[in-house]
């Protein structure tokens, strides 16, 4: 999971914090990105585009819930699950 969180952190910092996550803009892997105001309502759509392009997963409307996308850890778990599902489909 760690490579995902590292990559995702870089994406979030570059795209939503303009490259800076020091001091008052710092956040942990479990912090809520929405509650901290790091990802706003349109930012979620941006994040989803990135996940689809970078990790070749399909994000359905039903997936757009905080449980999947609200922290680095949750997003990493979500990617892992989605890629696992895709592999199972391919294998079957």
């Amino acid at each position: 999971m760690e490579p995902y969180t590292r990559e995702l952190r870089q994406f979030i910092v570059d795209n939503f914090l303009f490259g800076d996550s020091s001091g008052r803009f710092a956040f942990t892997d479990t912090d809520s990105l929405q509650e901290l105001g790091i990802v706003d309502s349109t930012g979620v759509l941006e994040l989803v585009c990135h996940l689809q392009e970078r990790y070749a997963i399909t994000v359905a409307d039903d997936d757009l819930v905080p449980d999947n996308l609200d922290s680095l850890e949750r997003i990493a778990r979500f990617i892992d699950r989605k890629r696992g599902e895709a592999q199972m489909i391919r294998a079957s």
């Binding site: 303009f18 309502s41 349109t42 930012g43 759509l45 819930v65």
Partner: protein, 636 residues
């Protein structure tokens, strides 16, 4: 330097140690109302920008007290009112003003500004002298006045959209806050508050609904009637929404009553190519219903890009939206059609409860206090029906955006925390030096420190209304998007909803007549049922304009690339060049789609334009500076 505000005449009064200057926009008593104006003895001198709408009634009263008038102007009424009542005169005035009265005997200067902050007034102290003006640029003509940027003002703007209190973008320059006076005597300026809004809802239980509607009609009719007073034609802006449609209906009704029916009311509006911003179909319905002489301006992305440097020159502050640009163009359009006075619907949302942020606050409180049922959560989609991207989100996600933490509820500014928190995120763009300068600062705490004592006893809606009325309204809507855009072309805007009697009535209403559940502007809509039947049920669509992507989609935006280049950003020192480059790259790649990106890009670019105009290329001749790409040239 201020010719645009007063293109009709300019005069000067000078004596040893004091001087007043005036650039006049002639609206009332075009022939004899020249300024600066003195009393009969020449002991009081006034320079005054704005209008006193109840000058006829005040004059009648002064004449009864023995005053004899030499002109028909409201300026003379103001001067004689001061002669009669001293500083108490201010409380008697219904108008929009910034004025200075110099008493040659006591060597005292009184500065005063209207209650809501319609007309601007800035000052600075230099070598024991007080300099004041309607716009900051006029003060900078004196080379002794420092033009250094105030990083704390930048911190305020990138939190609550405008500098707080008397602060401006420039360290050396102060603004006289709305509803305040200043007395300059013996080399000292003492500023005091004359008026502030009171939301204690004194009519909470006493007012039957039917009577309330009648009183609202009476107050608004009177406010509109006295705002039609002018010796030049008066028109109205028409957005297609409820507020301006009611004003247009009342104004058209007044004209009919006074036998001006032959001349249709001139109305002016903006149309956009992008459907999400365009309200023309609603404007046309109102025009058809009222039979106005309608003039429509089409505004394109390229138009916004073209005038944006001029817009910032006039606004004299960073902007987080491009929305002032179309209003700048609309004022020019009005002036080109020979008009110089328009009524607008500004203020209705603050006074009568129209903003989405009020609903948002109620919903967030509901979730926090009573938990989130599926039904309560689903309400969130009704908050911003005009934002398509929000409609695509899951309700669970939307709820998390508008989440209220347990301690948020107890915060005095609960309603505004999400907006301010989102805006504060833009500070990641600040340079190290700006960050260091504001490290100890908390703009939200500074807002809290300024709240009146009674605020704590007001309900949630009243608090939110107060914050809008005292912060965003004067700091952005009436100034950067209001006075400065219209007066750039010598067009005076007047606001019936900001009439003191209308404001006092609106702020006294019980909550159920302002916002009942999530139904907004309850009482005003009732009035709209008869006055604006074409739009009275329309869901509010906030005035918006094409966003910052316009600076990357049109050819005329070369100046944006220059001002946002890392070398320029580094030289000017307010932002981090790497951070700005990331933001610019997002735009170039078409990936910048969020509200935050839009505010960030507009905020950085407009700040860079402020530096360009007022620091790097300020010229102290009478023509000002204009940015045309890579160099500053003289305007016109």
């Amino acid at each position: 330097m201020l010719r645009h505000r007063g293109p009709d005449d300019s005069r000067l009064y000078l004596e040893a140690g004091a001087g007043l200057a005036h650039a006049r926009l002639s609206v009332i008593d075009v022939r004899t109302g020249a300024q600066p104006m003195s009393n009969d003895e020449g002991t009081l001198w006034i320079t005054f920008n704005g209008e006193i709408f109840n000058y006829i009634e005040l004059r009648r009263d002064l004449e009864r007290r023995g005053h004899r008038f030499h002109t028909q102007s409201d300026t003379e009424v103001l001067l004689r009112l001061y002669e009669e009542h001293g500083r108490d005169a201010i409380a008697l005035v219904n108008g929009d003003w910034a004025f200075a009265i110099w008493d040659t005997r006591s060597r005292t200067l009184l500065l005063s500004r209207d209650r809501m902050g319609v007309r601007p007034l800035y000052y600075t102290l230099v070598e024991r002298s007080l300099l004041f003006a309607s716009e900051i640029k006029a003060l900078f003509v004196d080379p002794r006045v420092s033009r250094d940027i105030d990083p704390e003002a930048l911190d305020d703007i990138f939190t609550v959209w405008s500098p707080l209190g008397s602060r401006t973008m420039f360290k050396a320059v102060r603004e006289l806050p709305p509803g305040h006076s200043g007395i300059w005597r013996d080399g000292r300026l003492t500023v005091s508050c004359d008026w502030q809004p009171d939301f204690s809802r004194v009519e909470r239980d006493a007012l039957p609904d039917g009577a309330a509607e009648e009183r609202l009609r009476a107050h608004l009719s009177a406010a509109t009637r006295i705002r039609l007073r002018a010796d030049v034609p008066v028109g109205t802006y028409l957005s297609g929404g409820l507020d301006s449609s009611i004003v247009a209906a009342l104004a058209a009704g007044e004209r009919r009553r006074h036998g001006d029916a032959a001349l249709a009311l001139p109305t002016f509006s903006i149309g956009f190519d992008a459907a999400e911003f365009d309200e023309r179909s609603y404007q046309q319905r109102v025009v058809a219903a009222l039979g106005t002489d309608h003039h429509e301006l089409r505004c394109t992305a390229a138009d916004i890009v073209r005038v944006f440097p001029d817009v910032v020159w006039h606004a004299e502050t960073p902007l987080l939206r491009t929305a002032p640009a179309p209003l700048y163009l609309l004022a020019r359009f009005v002036r080109e059609r020979g008009h110089k006075v328009v009524l607008t619907g500004e203020g209705a949302d603050e006074v009568f409860g129209g903003y989405h942020i009020f609903k948002e606050a109620k919903l967030r409180r509901l979730w926090s206090e009573r938990g989130r049922t599926a039904r309560r959560t689903a309400l969130v989609k009704r908050l911003y029906p005009h934002l398509p991207h929000l409609q695509r989100q899951s309700t669970a996600f939307l709820q998390s955006f508008f989440h209220a933490a347990a301690d948020d509820l107890a915060h005095p500014c609960f309603s505004h925390l999400p907006r301010w928190s989102l805006t504060s995120r833009l500070k990641t763009l600040f340079s190290d030096s700006v960050r260091a300068a504001v490290a100890q600062r908390d703009a939200v705490a500074a807002v809290v420190a300024r709240l009146p004592a009674a605020y704590a006893s007001w309900d949630l809606l009243a608090r939110a209304q107060y914050l809008e009325m005292t912060q965003l309204l004067p700091g952005y809507l009436l100034s950067a998007q209001g006075d400065r855009m219209s007066m750039a072309h010598g067009v005076e805007t007047r606001f019936p909803y900001l009439d003191p009697d209308v404001v006092s009535f609106g702020t006294s209403l019980p909550e159920r007549l302002v916002m009942h559940g999530l139904r907004d502007k309850v009482l005003l809509r009732r009035l709209g049922r008869t006055l604006a039947p074409a739009v009275w049920q329309r869901t509010k669509q906030p005035y918006r304009a094409p966003g910052a992507d316009v600076f990357f989609s049109t050819a005329s935006a070369g100046y944006a690339s220059d001002l946002l280049a890392p070398s320029q950003i580094r030289r000017d020192g307010l932002f981090n060049p790497d951070a700005v480059s990331r933001l610019v790259r997002k735009y170039r790649e078409g990936k910048a789609i969020s509200v935050k990106d839009d505010m960030a890009l507009t905020g950085v670019l407009s700040t860079q334009l402020v530096i360009h105009h007022f620091i790097n290329h300020f010229v102290t001749d009478t023509h000002g500076a204009l940015y045309t790409g890579t160099a500053a040239i003289h305007r016109r």
